[in-house]
Structure formats: structure tokens, C-alpha cells
């Protein structure tokens, strides 16, 4: 009997890095603390033991410059993977990312590709507060020339990171801190998942739920609640935000005619806005019902008493779905978690 191999998302990232480094000696890991005992939430743990020192580089807190160093490496044949333990730190390097990395291939007339990966970790919970829990996917997704990838499962994490490293373009690779702890099936062998758009997570016919990153996990739980209520939801995971491919989503909505978009970031000018627009561009004849949700449009406060209202939850999502379906839904006791809203599970006690 074959037992499926279950590992954490963080370990899946680690394995992707390790196997990519093994396979291609041009792959280089760089970022604050990639060689330290924490190993970027475990994702780079022990790489320094497996590979020579000149492939795993701790960085000074010079985020702007080291993004430039990575570009220099990339245009001369290396494949750097840089990481920021919070997406907020990358704001120091927006000039290099937006003006340089994203346009280099284009503005060199197609001569100089920039094969690099920028891992951006989204924080959440345990009072991280306004400067350690932003999402900001849209800031990158708006920029032609950047690929923006948001895996939601350990399986995706590994396959999409391997593919992102292979890719010849600058790839912004979002990892939600709370996903690092989640577990799932991940094959041991090296495999890659093409960066070509939405993935069907669950088949259904009553409503299409579109989400990505951590919010997708909430949506999958919601699906179980819906199942209990005899509602068959189809769940689409837009794991690639840019370039955005909408075809599979259109097909799903053709079937369901009802859509809920649950954004992983702020709602206003969010990822959901673009999807919303694309849907209505495509459904000019057929009537569809569409709603969207996202993080409340304020800085995310530290105190749990407020931050618990920042994020969409199973309950607020169900409420929206009730509105769409015009139908009352019942939530069984077992879904009512006793874990405080600033912890993904009991094991997570901060401090960061």
C-alpha cells in the first residue's frame, strides 16, 4: 500500500530550492538569514550544509542594492533566488524591481533576460501590525514584465517554485506566512507546474469561488460547509496573477453563473477588481451574479480585537454566498473554531 508523502509548505519550498540547486549550479540563494538557524521560516534550513558557501548568501539589510546585485547576476547567467521575510521590506527595492528587472529584457530589445525569483512573504496574525502584514500583490501584478505567482498548497509551492526558478523572467513568488505551516501531499521527485494560470481545486456547479494564497484555504473550508448544505461549489485558484489567464474561470462561470472572488489583499484596486472586470467583459450577454471580498481597506491593526475584522473569514464568506444564492446556510458546530483569529493553529504563538 502506497502512503502519500505529506510534508509542510515550508518543507516543500525547501525541497524545491534544494532540488533546483542540485540540478542547476547557476541557482544561487540570497537574502537576510538564508543561512541562519531560522532559515527563513524553515524554507532555507540546512541549504548551507548541502551546498557550498558561495551558493547560499546571507545579505546585509540593503534590500535595494541586493535586488540590483541579483539583476547583475541574472543578466550574466546566474539564477538568483532572493527572499524577503516580509513583503514590506521589498518596498525598498521597488525601483530595481519595477524600473529595471521587469523591463530589462524588453528595453534591451530582447537581448538580456533576467531570470530571477523574488520570494515575498506575507505576514499575518499575532499582532504583526500595519507594517508586517500587508499583501500588496497588485503592486507587482500591474507591471508588465513581471510574473506573479501565489501558490496555496505544498504541492503548488514546490512545483511552482521549481518552475519559477527555471523561468527566464523575474518572478515574484508570494508565500503566505500561514501557509508555511500547512501540510499536504508533495512528491519527492523534482516536478514543475507551469505558470499558466488558474487551477481547478474542486469541481461544482452552483457557484464559482475564486481565490488565491491563504484565502484559498479558507475558501476550501467554506466548501465543506457548503457541501453540508448541498451546495456544490467550484473552486478556482488563480495561482498566477500575472500574466493573468482567465479562460478557465470563464468556463467555470459559464456553468455556475454565480461568482464570489475572495481577494487575499485589500479589496480596493485589488486583484479582485481585475477579475471582476474581466468577467463582465466576457459575460456581456449572459447574466451572472458576482461579488467580491478582500481585506478591509485600512492598515491592519495589531490588536486582535480589530484585526479579526480585517480579514474575510469562513463566516463572512458564507454570508456573502448566502446573499448570492439567496438562501440561508447552516454552519455546523465543528467549523466554529476555538482558536483565536490571530493564530492559524494552536502551534502558532508568534512572536513573529
Amino acid at each position: 500500500m502506497l502512503k502519500k508523502r505529506i510534508i509542510t509548505f515550508a518543507d516543500a519550498i525547501n525541497e524545491a530550492l534544494s532540488q533546483s540547486m542540485q540540478k542547476d549550479k547557476n541557482v544561487i540563494i540570497m537574502g537576510l538569514g538564508v543561512d541562519d538557524p531560522g532559515g527563513v521560516f524553515g524554507t532555507t534550513k540546512d541549504l548551507i550544509k548541502k551546498f557550498p558557501k558561495d551558493r547560499v548568501f546571507d545579505m546585509p539589510t540593503s534590500e535595494n542594492a541586493f535586488t540590483g546585485f541579483a539583476i547583475g547576476l541574472a543578466i550574466s547567467g546566474k539564477k538568483p533566488v532572493i527572499s524577503h521575510q516580509r513583503v514590506e521590506f521589498s518596498l525598498l527595492s521597488m525601483e530595481q524591481i519595477i524600473n529595471q528587472a521587469s523591463k530589462w529584457f524588453y528595453m534591451s530589445g530582447g537581448q538580456a533576460p533576467v531570470p530571477m525569483v523574488i520570494r515575498l512573504i506575507i505576514g499575518r496574525g499575532w499582532g504583526q501590525g500595519p507594517q508586517h502584514s500587508q499583501s500588496l500583490e497588485v503592486l507587482f501584478s500591474h507591471i508588465p514584465g513581471l510574473k506573479v505567482v501565489c501558490p496555496s498548497t505544498p504541492f503548488e509551492a514546490k512545483g511552482m517554485l521549481i518552475e519559477s526558478i527555471k523561468d527566464k523572467n523575474p518572478v515574484i513568488f508570494f508565500e503566505h506566512r500561514w501557509l508555511h505551516l500547512t501540510k499536504g501531499f508533495v512528491p519527492k521527485k523534482m516536478y514543475s507546474i507551469p505558470l499558466n494560470g488558474p487551477r481547478l481545486m474542486k469541481k461544482g456547479s452552483d457557484i464559482t469561488i475564486i481565490s488565491f494564497s491563504y484565502m484559498l484555504i479558507e475558501c476550501l473550508t467554506v466548501c465543506k460547509i457548503l457541501s453540508d448544505n448541498n451546495v456544490k461549489a467550484e473552486v478556482m485558484n488563480i495561482s498566477v496573477l500575472n500574466p493573468l489567464s482567465i479562460k478557465k474561470i470563464i468556463n467555470s462561470v459559464k456553468k455556475t453563473k454565480r461568482v464570489l472572488i475572495v481577494d487575499n489583499g485589500w479589496k480596493n484596486y485589488g486583484i479582485g477588481s481585475e477579475i471582476f472586470a474581466r468577467l463582465f467583459e466576457n459575460f456581456t450577454k449572459t447574466k451572472i451574479t458576482c461579488e467580491r471580498m478582500g481585506i478591509a481597506d485600512s492598515p491592519i491593526p495589531s490588536t486582535i480585537s480589530l484585526s479579526k475584522h480585517s480579514y474575510p473569514t469562513k463566516f463572512t464568506i458564507i454570508k456573502k454566498i448566502e446573499k448570492i444564492l439567496k438562501k440561508k446556510l447552516i454552519i455546523k458546530q465543528k467549523y466554529i473554531s476555538k482558536i483565536p483569529s490571530d493564530q492559524p493553529d494552536k502551534s502558532f504563538l508568534g512572536p513573529f
Partner: protein, 320 residues
């Protein structure tokens, strides 16, 4: 002078015990935010702040508790902030990494490394524009000097002769990263300052009395004749980078290194000296401990009894 010595000692002890209380109580999961404790690094805050007036301002970073307290930041509001309560110094919206007490001159603390450096320079620029006789003190770590904005800020403070004291607390680590991973051996912050026309002083960062004395002169000079100065203070953090515990088992700092620095604890060494020189006696010490412990008890009680902010505050204060 003895009075001041006692005060310096008391202030350090107070900070140490408050931090210790946070550490002890963290496990109860009521302070639900990251904390970067200042244990071991009390001397710079206390030594320098003794020379500041209320109207002088400070900005600091993630490791801000000592600075906040030494500058006179309200203890109750700080502990309440750590508890996420609406009576907190940032109404619960900030947490430990966003301490603020405008009345006390604690203008800001934020956890993005280096970010308050230019903001502090802006504050000092305004002091100059208003022709006031005040100073801004900017606290930051060795890691923060690696941010380009540090150099940009030095440059500008020098160009416009601003009344600002840059204080680098060099605890030799940025999280687990030793200096050797991040900075060239020959790199010298005092020289970096000099190269842009700013004078600098290096003092041992655990010697509170010397810090007090030297910074007294520096600060009074700045107030007299506005121009920036850089102070470099070597020190050591006792606990883990972030969180309530000790992390010596991770071995990123050698046992010898740790022992050397623990022997050189700013409070331990100063206490010994004060007792030896009879500036302080055991009874007074006991009194100090009691007074502080009482204050801490009240602060935690205050925090616990305070209310959480109501839901509607989520969308309040986005715009002024």
C-alpha cells in the same frame, strides 16, 4: 553626582525589570504581538536620555522599549499597547513595534529597519527651521547602518548642520547574522560619518556613566551650535532577537562571547560599583526593586482591566 548615578541605576533597573516582566508574562498569550526586548542594552537609552528635555525628541526602531521608557514614555500605556487595548499608547493599533508618546517626546518607533532615521532627521530639520534649542536623538542598530537611507540621512544632516544625534547600538547581530556576514572588517561607522563631515564618538555601550557624561557634552554642544554627531555604542542583547526567551542554544553566538558580555552586564557591573563605592546600599536597592515591582504590577493590572477597541475603530483614523 551620586544622585545622578543612582538615577541612572534606577532607570536601568526599572527597564530591566519591566522587560523581564514582559518576558515572564508573555506565555499567558495576552501580549499578542512580536516583542524585541532590550535586556542588556539599557545603558545607551538611560545614559543619553538623562540629558534630554521633554521637548527633545527621539525616534527608534523595533527594539524600542528601553528608549520609550527612558525618555519618559508612559508605562501603563505601553503595557496596555502590548495587550492590544484601547488605552494603549497607539490605541492598540500598533503593538510593541509602534510605541509612541508624543507628550514625552517619543515621536515614533517602527519595525522597518532604518526607516525612522530620515524621519528623525526631518524632525531635527524642523527644530532648526524653528530656531529652537532642541535636539533629536535617533536610535538604531548595527544592521540599520546597512540601509542606504542611513547614508542619505547622514549626508543631509551634515549639509544642513542639523541638531541631531545618531546613536548606533551595535550589538553585533542583525537577528542571527553576525557583523562578519554583513559588513567589511575595515568598515568603520565613525569614519563613515567623518567622510561626510560629521564628527563621531565611540563609547562602550554598557558603561552608563560614561555614556551619560560624554553624551551630556555632545548634546549640549549640539544645542549650542546645531550640527549632527554620531555615537557608536558596542553592546549585547541578552535574549533572543524577537520574543521572550533566551536563544543561546542556537549557537549563533559562542559561549565565550556570551559569557564575556554577560559578565559585562551594564546593570550588574554598575550595581557592583555603586555598592562598593557606597553610593548605594542594599536597603536602597531593595526599595528600588519594590518600587519598580509595584509599578509593574499596577501597569499589568491597568492593561488587563482596560477594554479592547470596538470594531468600529478598525475603519477610524485612516484619514485625519
Amino acid at each position: 553626582m551620586d544622585k545622578i548615578k543612582k538615577k541612572l541605576f534606577f532607570n536601568m533597573l526599572r527597564i530591566r525589570n519591566i522587560e523581564q516582566a514582559i518576558s515572564d508574562n508573555y506565555k499567558f498569550q495576552k501580549m499578542r504581538c512580536p516583542v524585541h526586548l532590550s535586556v542588556g542594552q539599557e545603558a545607551p537609552a538611560v545614559g543619553i536620555m538623562q540629558n534630554l528635555k521633554k521637548e527633545d525628541k527621539i525616534v527608534t526602531a523595533h527594539r524600542s522599549h528601553a528608549h520609550y521608557l527612558a525618555k519618559g514614555g508612559n508605562l501603563n500605556s505601553m503595557i496596555a499597547e502590548l495587550h492590544g487595548k484601547s488605552s494603549g499608547c497607539a490605541k492598540g493599533k500598533g503593538g510593541s513595534m509602534h510605541l509612541i508618546d508624543l507628550k514625552a517626546g517619543v515621536s515614533a518607533a517602527v519595525p522597518i529597519v532604518g526607516s525612522t532615521i530620515p524621519i528623525g532627521v526631518g524632525l531635527s530639520w524642523n527644530i532648526k527651521l524653528k530656531k529652537k534649542k532642541n535636539v533629536v536623538v535617533i536610535f538604531f542598530g548595527d544592521g540599520a547602518t546597512e540601509e542606504g537611507v542611513f547614508q542619505e540621512s547622514l549626508d543631509f544632516a551634515s549639509l544642513h548642520s542639523l541638531p541631531v544625534l545618531f546613536v548606533c547600538e551595535n550589538n553585533h547581530f542583525s537577528v542571527y547574522s553576525p557583523l562578519s556576514n554583513r559588513q567589511a572588517k575595515k568598515r568603520d561607522i565613525i569614519k563613515i560619518a567623518k567622510a561626510v563631515g560629521i564628527s563621531g564618538t565611540k563609547i562602550h555601550g554598557n558603561d552608563v556613566l560614561n555614556i551619560y557624561k560624554k553624551s551630556k557634552k555632545i548634546i549640549s554642544d549640539i544645542k549650542q551650535d546645531p550640527k549632527p554627531h554620531v555615537l557608536l555604542l558596542d553592546t549585547f542583547r541578552h535574549l533572543e532577537h524577537c520574543g521572550p526567551n533566551n536563544d543561546n542554544h542556537l549557537n549563533y553566538r559562542s559561549d565565550d562571547y556570551i559569557k564575556k558580555w554577560l559578565d559585562n552586564c551594564p546593570i550588574k557591573t554598575f550595581k557592583k560599583k555603586l555598592l562598593k563605592n557606597k553610593v548605594l546600599n542594599i536597603l536602597e536597592l531593595k526599595n528600588y526593586e519594590n518600587k519598580i515591582s509595584h509599578e509593574i504590577k499596577l501597569a499589568f493590572k491597568y492593561a488587563r482591566n482596560s477594554k479592547f477597541p470596538k470594531k468600529k475603530f478598525l475603519l477610524k483614523n485612516i484619514y485625519a
